[in-house]
């Protein structure tokens, strides 16, 4: 379908996904100003159901999922026993004993395997339901106005990080007010056979309001501006949530043990080994994943994890892991030339509410 729309496709984790439809910059700005429509069907959906589902997830993940109210969502992580991040996740509690765990495409098999193994001894069923769901996200300030007339759900009553079963364009769906762009928006989980109808209904309803199809390239610059980490860039088995500045997702005070607890307690006590920082560039060359970050004396103090031209700010921005401490004269080594950079509080962009 996307090829009909003129999309430039990219192969990602075994899926053929739209990288861009026209211009990633125009798609990015449409999401900030109006709305964009994303096909995220590559994301993994893992269902964890049964009377012990909350307790099983409390043990398997770093967050306190048993405390999550039905109809609400939470951002959390799954860590290895040594505290390294295996994936970052959004978990929806769809009912008392019904949770849906959203994993990154390339990690779905790992997350499913770990959840199944860690659920041993609990009265719970873990199922990889990725093939049963398409995921369409509508993101941007115009999203509620576009989606509202197409659903029986009362979107004005749906809070950020909440979700509900309902319908979109007459098709059954789980609709959640979540996203990865720094804007208001919704994620619609529907049957794959309904996805094209849902997509076309949203495009038809939204085009007059400025809705455009948007690809993975725009999604990446949107999440970077919003300071959101990406697995494989900011997150991976070599860092804990504390290095990523996301120690708040680790809930030591929840009941019972959880995988990674003792290693994470130690890391929390000793402090992170590197710190995730925002960089704003003073020139126009783009810092990219893996480029060295240097200080005044040309000493290497870190590594860029993600970098891109920021369509909203008009300058290149980056996230980087830096050694703790002050680093006067920060610069990114861009293919042999030091490009001066300024430390910037994350996120680079925060929507006005």
């Amino acid at each position: 379908m996307h090829e009909r729309l003129g999309a430039s496709l990219t192969s990602f984790a075994g899926f053929s996904m739209p990288l861009r439809y026209t211009s990633e910059t125009a798609e990015h700005l449409a999401v900030r100003r109006a709305a964009g429509l994303f096909d995220l069907s590559h994301m993994g959906e893992i269902l964890v159901t049964g009377p012990d589902a909350g307790a099983a997830l409390d043990y398997a993940l770093v967050g306190n999922l048993s405390s999550l109210a039905p109809g609400r969502a939470r951002y959390t992580m799954i860590c290895a026993a040594d505290g390294g991040v295996l994936d970052d996740l959004v978990v929806y509690r769809q009912g008392e004993g019904e949770f849906m765990v959203i994993a990154n495409a390339s990690n779905t098999a790992t997350v499913y395997g770990e959840l199944a193994a860690r659920a041993e001894g609990h009265e719970v069923l873990v199922a990889d339901a990725t093939d049963e769901y398409a995921l369409i996200a509508i993101q941007g300030p115009a999203s509620a106005g576009i989606l509202g007339p197409l659903t029986g759900l009362d979107l004005s009553a749906m809070k950020y990080y909440a979700g509900a079963f309902g319908d979109v364009a007459g098709r059954p769906a789980w609709v959640a007010r979540t996203g990865y762009t720094g804007e208001d928006g919704f994620e619609i989980f529907c049957r794959p056979s309904d996805a094209e109808a849902v997509w076309e209904a949203l495009m038809a309803a939204g085009a007059p309001a400025g809705l455009v199809p948007a690809g993975l390239a725009a999604r990446d610059t949107l999440r970077l501006e919003a300071g959101m980490p990406l697995y494989g860039n900011e997150l991976g088995p070599e860092v804990t949530p504390f290095e990523a500045g996301l120690g708040r997702v680790v809930k030591f005070d929840k009941p019972g043990d959880f995988v990674g607890r003792s290693a994470l307690l130690a890391r929390a006590a000793e402090g992170p080994r590197v710190v995730l920082a925002g960089l704003t560039m003073r020139s126009r060359r783009i810092p990219r994943h893996g480029y060295p970050v240097v200080a005044d004396d040309a000493d290497r103090v870190g590594t860029v994890t993600s970098g891109a031209p920021s369509p909203t700010l008009g300058v290149p921005i980056a996230m980087a892991y830096l050694e703790p401490g002050d680093h006067p004269g920060l610069a990114v080594d861009i293919r042999g030339q030091a490009a001066p950079a300024d430390l910037t509080d994350l996120p680079f962009y925060r929507r006005s509410t």
Binding site: S8, E24, A217, P309
Partner: protein
């Protein structure tokens, strides 16, 4: 995808247009669409000597950075200042948005391995 018949091409997706001793160099529509939105172009300096087949600058897009190759030997006599403020012109009008101009010694100085439009089209097709 347009490939004007009156231009010559490199395997690295530059186009070149020769008028007398002046060669204008740009990047093809195919290259621009593969790169995505071009956000910065590092040009050779006016007065610099460039060599056919050698890198002489960089094209940065949102997702990638690519070397810019000179299709010809000669001296850079002009760079397109419009691209400094609006590099996305390369995406909008790839065959109007020339990047730089080179003074070449004459027809004899043209490298024999530049591609015709038909040959370049063949190359983009085999690249998928």
């Amino acid at each position: 995808m347009s490939i004007p018949a009156d231009l010559r091409y490199t395997p690295e997706h530059e186009w070149v247009s020769i008028e007398g001793t002046s060669a204008s160099v740009g990047i093809t529509e195919y290259a621009a669409s593969q790169l995505g939105d071009v956000v910065f172009i590092s040009m050779p300096a006016v007065g610099a000597t460039v060599t056919a087949g050698e890198p002489c600058g960089e094209v940065e897009s949102v997702k990638s950075v690519s070397d810019l190759y000179s299709p010809v030997d000669g001296e850079v006599i002009e760079v397109n200042a419009d691209l400094e403020s609006d590099p996305a012109l390369v995406n909008a009008e790839p065959y109007a948005a020339w990047l730089f101009r080179v003074r070449v010694a004459g027809d004899a100085a043209l490298p024999p391995d530049l591609l015709s439009a038909a040959e370049y089209e063949e190359l983009t097709k085999s690249a998928g």
